[in-house]
């Protein structure tokens, strides 16, 4: 029912294939990608680091909560780690459900909660320096 993992490279087809089921009428997928600008500076590349065992466990908690809250058929959460270039996908979350309301709401819930609780860290590299995103006020 749930596909939850941490990978080097996101495969959108794998995510969609997992969500696909004749029970569902609606599939919503959110893909987070590397922007080439952040706070007005050009981003050369990024690096994602995960505390993998805990990240998987926290992703499972988020998935379980979504499953409780919404009538879902299937669910996917995949996060990438390692070096990423602008444009590359870094996360995909998605669900399938009978109707579209639940698909939009559950998908939004998954990415919002993932961003709050899952121990993964992003370092942005600009031309002249680099920053751990969110680290400082």
């Amino acid at each position: 029912m749930m596909l939850i993992k941490i990978v080097e490279h996101i495969d959108l087809n794998e995510a969609y294939a997992h969500l696909h089921t004749p029970e569902a009428g609606a599939v919503n997928l959110f893909v987070g990608t590397v922007r080439n600008h952040s706070k007005g500076k050009e981003v050369m590349h990024l690096d994602f680091e995960a505390y993998e065992t805990m990240a998987l466990q926290q992703m499972q908690h988020v998935a379980d909560a979504a499953q409780q809250k919404f009538p879902l058929c299937k669910l996917v959460m995949i996060h990438a780690v390692g070096a990423k270039e602008p444009g590359e996908p870094v996360v995909v979350v998605g669900v399938s459900s009978a109707h579209r309301d639940a698909s939009f709401e559950a998908c939004r819930f998954l990415i919002d909660e993932l961003k709050k609780t899952v121990p993964i860290w992003k370092k942005e590299f600009y031309e002249d320096n680099s920053v751990w995103v969110n680290a400082h006020p």
Binding site: T53, A55, Q57, V91, K115, P119, I120, W132, V133, A135
Partner: protein
Amino acid sequence: MEILLFGITREIVGKQKLPVPADQNITTVKALKTWLGQQYPAMQSLSSLLVAVDSEYAQDDDVLNGENEIALIPPVSGG
């Protein structure tokens, strides 16, 4: 006791695992944070600093011992 480090905390300490000397007698999350702030003042300037015990977020009063996996969780930025 040994603390796993990630992201900016790994860079502040300069290694992936931080041993906590037994003579510090640190037995709670709160005591660990206080000690870390003294040893590494840069940690005090972070937006937040949480502690995880066996992959779950821990509270200040939670007890630490050498049998659990303990990690520092600086502000997350995945997704």
